[in-house]
């Protein structure tokens, strides 16, 4: 396959300033001189030069291939995934490949699906697939051209393999490191040939060592680990309620404490700066802050459930409409159910944090940044500078699950406010406590669904009518449908003669946010437990019932059959064991999960096994896919069984892992993952494993108890804690 790169400029030699970097080949698409401070371009020194360019590959004389990764590595394996694609097309040896984070530079490193530099929507591989292949193929082309010129042989007589160019006829060979300098003088090709899938050497390999390193010996550097000479640590006293404000505060005691440099009022609370974390924390505890908590005094989860349930009785905004569902419901024998989903925190292991330093020319930041573009905008607003003046060095994030990509900059903005208020050009590390992290909002919003359906006389679905009430993550007003509230309810794969999906957008003081798989966290639960209910009403096997209604959706049917087959759907089970199944597409990836639960001697259940089938197109890194399915299932199971934030009088009732229960080792089921072989373009795996497990377990629980569980989390009473 030939691909036009649209490139014609020449490469330049770049002298890396980093010790030992020597001369490097900076391959850019099109040509771009790499940052003067090294091959990584990591500090964005060239951000004033605006070119429509992307730079992804550098080769050093000591034979390292350095691949710039435009997405945040937060555990999902994107360093490994994107590097695999580039390295395969350029025929690099996996051992010589290193991955580094891209600087904040929207023009070069934007997410091609979203138009800004951001990691989200499970699309790192999907949006970069062709871009990374072209980057690798162009590098390979130039290395071959350099060898042909040096050896005075036709390029057609050369081949490349594992980081070497080989001339079979003469037996000559040269490493990429040896050829890098000469390759840098070659023209960037106008067109590159991409490999046929059968020629892949790294893509699809079972287990390539991950490229995010340093994670078993404590040497990996997270935001929390950044240490600069003269750096101060900042902590913030935040209001205890949503909508709370500082009324007045007395910092007299705090300011006298050892190591304390400043106590500053900022828009989000009162910040304390000290030499070390513990000094700052003690001073924060010594602050006397009077809060105005009046704004949130009427806010409570119980009240929201009641209000939202009432809303679902009224017509909402139309998100999808086919036929006349109301009319069909009036004629048939309908089933109706209400579902309730709580606010839920992400609770990534590394609480939110950010290192910021004012400089002469702007601001420098170091942290696990998930949306460079949004954060640049927010920080620029705080300082009254241009977004390009905000340099961001993206570090590993200790988990995110959506938490770190905020529309308003959130904690990055707060760090900037502190640096601005302090005014001195010293590095400041903002550290949130677990309590700050868990009580600070940016939750998956609370939702209520009302769903009604009828069957036709052939046992198919005659009508399906669903109303959703809750906050729009994009803060849509009362007249606009936000797909991040409804997707997964809209686009239902099951054939229904009449289908209606409606939504009520609500406004609350709690900041709504993306949480791993977003709307699918609740829409998949409703769809897949209610379809199970309909199967039982029709007297059908839940798998066969689904398959009959999935006529136009072969990939849904494919994973459903595979999970049923591999998990032994319908087989005879030990006493006290029960099965449930669910299938759902999210972010263009199809996942089915069969959950097996077992009742223990104490009468409580455990999830003993989940069999997962996934169709994500070409499996770039099969083991990363398995990791993400396993992890996504664990994350979804936490929310299904235990995790929620409840609010009383504006105050979140859970603030740490003692009250906000999460999945632990003793709760984790065995997980078998089966990947559907596919030649389709690859799609994401970070999120799609998550939303399927809760309905699969709930359906198993129905098989065990005859009860439907319609408020999450449902495990506190019936599962072994």
């Amino acid at each position: 396959m030939n691909r036009s790169t649209g490139l014609s400029r020449r490469l330049f030699l770049v002298r890396g300033a980093q010790a030992g970097a020597g001369l490097t080949l900076g391959l850019s698409l099109p040509m771009k001189i790499l940052a003067a401070d090294g091959v990584t371009g990591a500090t964005g020194k060239n951000s004033d030069t605006r070119l429509d360019a992307n730079a992804f590959v550098a080769i050093t004389p000591d034979n390292r291939v350095i691949i710039t990764i435009k997405h945040l590595e937060m555990g999902q394996g994107t360093y490994t995934g994107l590097a695999t694609i580039v390295a395969d097309e350029m025929d690099a040896a996996w051992e010589q490949v290193e991955a580094v984070s891209a600087p904040a530079d929207k023009d070069k490193y934007k997410n091609l699906a979203l138009g800004v530099q951001i990691t989200g929507g499970s699309n790192a591989i999907r949006n970069s697939w062709t871009q990374m292949r072209e980057a690798g193929a162009a590098a390979r082309h130039m290395l071959l051209a350099a060898a042909a010129e040096q050896w005075q042989v036709p390029v057609g007589e050369l081949s490349a393999r594992s980081g070497e160019v080989i001339h079979a006829a003469s037996g000559r060979r040269a490493s990429y490191g040896e050829l890098g300098t000469a390759a840098a003088t070659q023209s960037v090709p106008d067109e590159v040939a991409l490999k046929e899938p059968g020629d892949f050497t790294l893509i699809g390999k079972q287990q390539l060592p991950r490229k995010d390193t340093g994670k078993v010996d404590g040497s990996a550097r997270f935001t929390q680990d950044v240490q600069w000479r003269g750096m101060l640590t900042a902590v913030v006293a935040h209001p205890p309620t949503f909508g709370g404000k500082v009324e007045r505060f007395d910092a007299g005691e705090a300011r006298k404490m050892p190591g304390v440099k400043a106590v500053l009022e900022i828009p989000t609370g009162v910040a304390v700066l000290a030499e070390t974390f513990w000094q700052a924390q003690k001073a924060k505890n010594a602050l006397a802050v009077e809060w105005d908590n009046s704004a949130g005094s009427g806010l409570s989860s119980g009240k929201l459930y009641a209000e939202y349930r009432e809303l679902t009785g009224k017509p909402g905004l139309e998100a999808q409409s086919e036929g006349d569902a109301e009319a069909a419901l009036a004629e048939g024998d309908s089933l109706e159910a209400f579902y309730e989903f709580p606010y839920i925190a992400h609770a990534a292991m590394e609480p939110m944090n950010c290192v910021v330093k004012k400089t002469d020319g702007g601001v420098q930041m170091w942290y696990g940044c998930q949306s460079q573009t949004w954060d640049q905008q927010a920080v620029a607003e705080v300082f009254g500078i241009r977004p390009e003046q905000v340099e961001i060095q993206t570090l590993y994030a200790g988990g995110s699950f959506g938490r770190r990509a905020t529309l308003d900059g959130n904690y990055a903005r707060e760090a900037a406010e502190i640096a601005k208020a302090y005014g001195k050009a010293v590095p400041i590390k903002l550290v949130w406590s677990r309590e700050d992290d868990m009580t600070g909002g940016y939750y998956r919003p609370l939702y209520v669904h009302r769903v009604r359906a009828t069957l036709d006389d052939q046992g198919g679905i005659d009508a399906w009518h669903q109303r959703i009430a809750g906050q729009s993550i994009f803060r849509a007003g009362p007249d606009k449908v936000d797909r991040t509230t409804v997707e997964g309810a809209t686009g239902m794969p099951y054939t229904a003669a009449n289908l209606q999906v409606e939504v009520h957008n609500t406004q609350e003081l709690v900041t709504p946010h993306f949480w791993r798989s977003v709307a699918h966290t609740h829409t998949a639960y409703v769809a897949e437990t209610f379809i199970d209910e309909l199967a039982h009403k029709a007297g059908r096997d839940p798998v066969e019932f689904r398959l009959d209604l999935l006529g136009d959706h072969p990939r849904h049917a494919g994973v459903l059959k595979l999970a049923a087959d591999k998990g032994g759907w319908g087989k005879s089970l030990p006493d006290g064991h029960f099965q449930g199944i669910a299938v759902h597409k999210s972010f263009e990836t199809y996942v089915a999960e069969l959950a097996e639960i077992a009742r223990g001697e104490d009468g409580k259940f455990r999830v003993v096994r989940v069999t997962c089938a996934v169709d994500c197109g070409v499996a770039v890194n099969p083991d990363v896919i398995r990791q993400q399915m396993q992890g996504g299932i664990g994350f979804g199971l936490s929310a299904a069984l235990f995790s929620e934030v409840t609010i009383e009088n504006g105050r979140p009732q859970q603030d740490n892992f003692d009250s906000f229960q999460v999945l632990r080792m003793r709760h984790m089921p065995a997980v078998d993952v089966h990947i559907v072989p596919s030649a389709e373009a690859p799609t994401g795996v970070g999120e799609p494993g998550t939303p399927v497990v809760a309905p699969a377990v709930a359906n198993a629980l129905f098989a065990a108890t005859g009860k439907r569980f319609r408020r999450l989390p449902f495990g506190k009473e019936v599962f072994s804690i």
Binding site: G75, W278, M349, G399, R434, G632, F657, R664
Partner: protein, 164 residues
């Protein structure tokens, strides 16, 4: 106040407030950042270090309580158990974000030091105090068993060679 402790085999005297948690003494005063802050209330295990060879939650242990004691962090952890575990962690691709893994490894190393062949129930019991939000639990379990196998394999081999 001044506290003297031996960290990773080196005597260190620190001038810190005596209520400073060991975690923050290690991180902010000794720049040993492999040990992580996760909850501050001994609920998540990310801060696990060894005090005189036993796993403790350094976020909830005042540094004064470690005065005169031996502290081992992930940076200084030595011995067959931790080495076998680290190799297994690579081999089985255990980690994802990696933030909790120092604590997981320190807890697992202690488990293996006391129990050469832990059962699933032993692993549940020892490891359930260490939260991993990436839910790498299956691979942690497999990694512990793999490391146990490697250790008993090499020990068994040494025994056989010794007998010849």
């Amino acid at each position: 106040m001044s506290v003297t402790l031996t960290v990773n085999g080196r005597r260190q005297t620190l001038d810190v407030a005596d209520d400073t948690p060991l975690l923050w003494a290690l991180r902010d005063h000794l720049q040993l950042t492999g040990t992580k802050y996760g909850c501050g209330i001994a609920q998540c295990g990310a801060c696990t270090v060894h005090l005189n060879g036993n796993p403790v939650r350094s976020c909830s242990l005042p540094v004064s309580a470690a005065d005169g004691q031996q502290v081992t962090t992930i940076e200084g952890a030595e011995g067959p158990e931790i080495r076998a575990l680290q190799e297994a962690w690579h081999e089985l691709a255990v980690y994802q974000c990696g933030y909790c893994q120092s604590g997981q490894l320190m807890t697992a190393a202690n488990l293996l030091a006391n129990n050469a062949n832990p059962s699933d129930a032993d692993i549940d019991q020892s490891m359930s105090g260490n939260i991993c939000r990436c839910a790498t639990y299956n691979r942690i379990r497999d990694g512990i068993k793999h490391a146990a196998g490697e250790l008993s394999g090499s020990a068994g081999k040494a025994d056989r060679e010794g007998a010849q």
